[in-house]
Amino acid sequence: MTDIAWIDAALSSARPQAVAALLRYFRDLDTAEEAFQDACLRALKNWPKNGPPRDPTAWLIFVGRNAAIDRVRKTSRQTELPSDEAISDLDDVEAGMAERLDNSDYRDDVLRLLFVCCHPDLPATQQIALALRIVSGLSVAQIARAFLVSEAAMEQRITRAKGRIAKANVPFEAPGPIERSQRLASVAAMVYLVFNEGYSASGGEQPARAPLCAEAIRLARLLLRLFQAEPEIMGLLALMLLQHARREARFDADGEIVLLEDQDRTRWNRKMIAEGLALVDKALRHRRPGPYQVQAAIAALHARAARAEDTDWQEIDILYATLEVMQPSPVVTLNRSVAVSKTRGAQAALDMVEPLAAKLGNYFNFHGVRGAYLLRLGRQAEAREAFDRAIALANSAAEAAHIRQHLDRLMKDNAAAEKPAAAKK
């Protein structure tokens, strides 16, 4: 039971709650992190010998707090540290401690820790890096790899972020209900940013960045365990599970993007889909819709369709219309146009995206989608122009390659002239 792998997993799953509680005691990120490190070292020595404690998180908080206090004493008066045997004897103390640390304490502690990371003074990239380092406990090297920057650069980014937080005024009193829900909303947005850092990675970058998706899912699960009745957190977790479920099918062997409708759906992860669908059902019961729930419901409709042609585009169109009201954005409208192209045809879809040109003119996907509609309407010269523009604006090789597939198809169609519609595969 107490093999190293088990202890490792137990330590990393206890980390957010333990560091969060230690932050409440010490009100300083570095001290809280060091205290947790000390507690982990002692756990590695102790647990194999004495068996794991009943409540590993409470043990780590208790031992971490004492270790940090001892360190202060040691440096000031050179007092001796207690022996590890003494620590193993704290079973009774630990039980009392676990009782006092009820769920509501954990809730606000963890929320505060995550909230500290998404402080508005920090740019998004620093927020994510800080959350991955402090809450998830990823090493600087791991985070640097995921962001494709050097370790030194990432170290600097995290140090700078911590410096800004130390100067900012982080409130340590328990939040009121309105403040709590505001914090939860910013934290949810940050978790989704972490997810998208992993999800938007192109084929070649996938192996390094996909762990970010798993980490975001883990954080959302942690939030949901603490805030069990929040439909938007259910929606967020469902959305990420349903998107991540397609991971194996999203890129071909060459690392090129495979469109949703061309994906091999047998490679979708059924377990994640089952969990995502169950969470969507749970959330809908609350009748308190929000953007994550609507996006999850859209992903759920894709997940429910056994074949691309079984997709309920009518319903997806309605859901995107809802999302446009909740969270108006040209990208949402662009996405909606795809559903419109399926239900009302390419001309209706093109009419919907043309007015977005001013806002999305520098977004590669706008030109890609527009090009696809033009192509379907037989306006080949304009389609080619749109695809060329999309390739010029693409952020990654995989994005450019994806647009090139359209261009290749266009060229083939041209070559096969005089034979319109018949050329598709």
Binding site: A5, S13, M234, K271, E275, D281, R285
Partner: protein, 123 residues
């Protein structure tokens, strides 16, 4: 005599396993199950989704309360279970409500989706 063997562990820890660790564990378990199938001793086997996907119906009033999350009371014990094949959570909750009418009083039903189900072992 029929027995059920109920599996308990920390879900955060099991959930943190890598796919390789999880697969390796499933292979080891399958070997045990295969043996039991040969001996004709194995009935249905199920792996449940995380408790974050659970909903609980608490009895004790005419209109039972639906709570998000798993059953959390420690004073009550697990006395039985049903497995139902339904289209939605609402349908499962309706069934639980019917059960509550048939067996009124205190107690709860936790409705937890199933991740994997093998009617006759993992074979």
């Amino acid at each position: 005599m029929l027995y059920t063997i109920l599996c308990y562990n920390q879900e955060e820890v099991v959930g943190a396993w890598t796919k390789e660790e999880d697969d390796a564990c499933m292979v080891r378990l399958k070997a045990v199950q295969d043996d039991l199938v040969k001996q004709g001793k194995l009935g249905p086997v199920a792996r449940l989704l995380p408790t974050t996907a659970a909903t609980t119906l608490r009895k004790g009033s005419d209109d039972p309360i639906v709570i998000d999350g798993p059953f959390a009371e420690t004073k009550e014990q697990l006395l039985g279970f049903y497995m139902v094949d339904v289209a939605s959570l609402d349908e499962a909750l309706d069934i639980a409500r019917d059960l509550a009418v048939a067996n009124p009083g205190v107690g709860s039903y936790e409705i937890r989706p199933v991740q994997l189900f093998f009617p006759n072992g993992n074979t």
